[in-house]
């Protein structure tokens, strides 16, 4: 059993492997439905809009806006204590889907709902890079 207090480094599953290999190359990949044009995140085996299975991977623009955010002052576990205070946010991508992420390289007090952000990547291990966002330049 994995240690619940350890930092959870993402482990790819068959349907998310492509996403994480994209992240490793510092590309944010989302799924696009060839049948109906819907973009979706997180990766799934069917299109949630039309139930089709003609899904392709596309590179997202990496641009989005903050739907909501919080400044974490009390970390979830000791593994995150060095990061405090840190900003987690729900980011609405320009293509439509939302994703959870961090907002980095910004004064936490300057973060606002509606702020334009762009993706950047943190290399966590030799194999895993994680998308985070910063204020759009």
């Amino acid at each position: 059993m994995t240690d619940i207090l350890a930092k959870p480094v993402p482990v790819a599953s068959p349907e998310t492997a492509e996403y994480w290999s994209g992240a490793k190359r510092h590309e944010l990949l989302i799924q696009h439905c060839s049948s109906c044009g819907h973009h979706q995140f997180y990766p799934r085996v069917l299109c949630t809009a039309c139930s089709g299975r003609m899904l392709t991977w596309v590179r997202a623009s990496g641009r989005g806006t903050i739907r909501s955010y919080t400044v974490v002052r009390r970390p979830v576990s000791e593994a995150y204590a060095p990061d405090v205070p840190y900003v987690v946010a729900l980011v609405a991508l320009a293509e439509g889907p939302s994703m959870m992420s961090r907002i980095v390289a910004i004064d936490p007090e300057a973060v606002r709902i509606g702020l334009a952000v762009e993706v950047t990547f943190q290399d966590w291990t030799d194999a895993v890079s994680v998308p985070v966002f910063r204020a759009a330049g």
Binding site: I4, L5, K7, P8, V9, P10, V11, A12, S13, T16, W20, F41, Y42, R67, S68, Y69, T70, V71, V72, R73, R74, P75, V76, S77, E78, A79, Y80, D83, Y86, V88, A89, L90, S98, M99, M100, S101, R102, I113, W124, V130
Partner: protein, 391 residues
């Protein structure tokens, strides 16, 4: 005529264990203790139970939890199941148990839930376990404690409707005022809005006193058919309506941050009972964090969207207010042992509807709505309980 659960089952026994910091009992033992007390309240023996529903424990998990509890008691039920929908578990369990009784699977079900998040686990582990509700690949790596998930909801509600930190704090203050009238509540010292706002910030805008407790404890109820209910010594409390709504599991996949599947849960429960929000004398609303109560007040039809903050700040939900909410003191001030948390809202409602709530007995307690949710505003269940078998 369509089949309905309205008025078909009744709660005929209800009891809590001691709550708070209970070092003398493990989680399984607390569950057994709750059952023993509920059976005593109902005036029956364990051999009259033919259905058992539990929720698993985080401190003492079993792969087959309900079966373990049945074995411990040496009872041999016809219906035996463990449920898991977070805080909504209690009422989804009641929904399923009532359905099992109505369909003839069994006749008398005990629903018992307990955990020892405070004494059975380290604080670090209890917090980390609860936050594992986040998506393992797409949420948890970003390091959100549970309050942070709810803080995202609070910030969105503040942005969209002008809700303020003072409105959130007013929920904690009103709930504490109820707890002060409950001798069993963990937190009974008065607090003010300023106390909440000056308590430590956990995840903006949620302060420490916007967050619920971490506790040990359990509770159980006995549910039986309306026909059999008349044979029990306690005045039956009838299940008049029940409805569920399941909007998402992960908040990053939610349809809305500020309107929840409590809307559907409430509408389904009202439709079954043939009543509306204005008919309710009081409510118990899941209060793991203060903003949740505001969204539930709105989504369940007690306030228009955006009006719950001013409604609570005006004192309506406090003791003596026009619409008392969480008369036992809620998860914020009474107790919160994790998934079993809403059991105490249920047992409190039974006491109020029977007229057995002592010092905190409401003058008017004929019909109540009790609502719980689990995950991050994910799985919702509303129930409507009444003194009479029809509303």
């Amino acid at each position: 005529m369509p089949r309905t659960l309205r008025g078909r089952t009744a709660i005929v026994g209800a009891a809590d264990t001691d709550v708070g910091v209970i070092k003398t009992m493990g989680a399984t033992q607390l569950c057994i203790e709750a059952i023993i007390r509920a059976l005593a309240d109902a005036g029956i023996t364990k051999d009259e139970i033919d259905g058992l529903v539990t929720c698993n424990s985080m401190a003492e998990p079993y792969l087959y939890h309900a079966e373990t509890v049945a074995e411990y008691l040496q009872i041999f039920p016809k219906y035996c199941v463990s449920v898991g929908a977070g805080g909504g578990t209690t009422f989804t369990a009641l929904h399923q148990a009532a359905s099992a009784i109505e369909s003839g699977i069994c006749n008398t079900v005990v629903i018992a839930m307990a955990d020892s998040l405070r004494s059975g686990m380290t604080r670090e582990k209890a917090l980390a376990m609860q936050s594992s509700t986040g998506h393992p690949q797409f949420e948890r790596p970003y390091g959100l404690p549970v309050p942070a998930y709810y803080a995202l909801i609070a910030q969105a509600h503040m942005h969209e409707y002008g809700t303020t930190p003072e409105h959130l704090a007013a929920v904690a203050v009103a709930t504490r005022q109820h707890a002060m009238r409950n001798p069993n509540a963990q937190m009974r010292t008065p607090i003010t809005v300023d106390d909440v706002l000056s308590s430590r910030m956990i995840a903006d805008p949620l302060h420490l006193l916007d967050c619920s407790l971490v506790s040990d404890g359990g509770a159980a109820v006995v549910l039986t058919s309306r026909e059999r209910a008349r044979d029990f010594r306690r005045r039956p409390v009838f299940l008049l309506g029940v409805g569920e709504g399941h909007g998402h599991e992960h908040i990053s996949a939610a349809r809305s941050l500020t309107t929840s599947a409590a809307v559907e849960a409430g509408q389904r429960a009202y439709a079954m009972a043939g009543v509306g929000p204005k008919d309710m004398d009081f409510a118990q609303l899941y209060d793991c964090f203060t903003p949740v109560v505001l969204i539930e007040l709105e989504d369940l039809g007690f306030c228009a969207k955006g009006e719950a903050g001013p409604f609570v700040a005006a004192g309506h939900t406090a003791p003596g207010g026009s619409f008392p909410v969480n008369t036992h003191g809620g998860l914020l001030s009474h107790t919160h042992p994790g998934n079993p948390g809403s059991m105490f809202a249920l047992t409190e409602t039974v006491l109020q509807l029977r007229g057995d709530a002592g010092e905190r007995q409401l003058d008017k307690a004929g019909l109540a709505l009790v609502h719980a949710q689990g995950g991050i505003m994910s799985s919702h269940c509303s129930i409507i309980l009444g003194r009479e078998d029809a509303a």
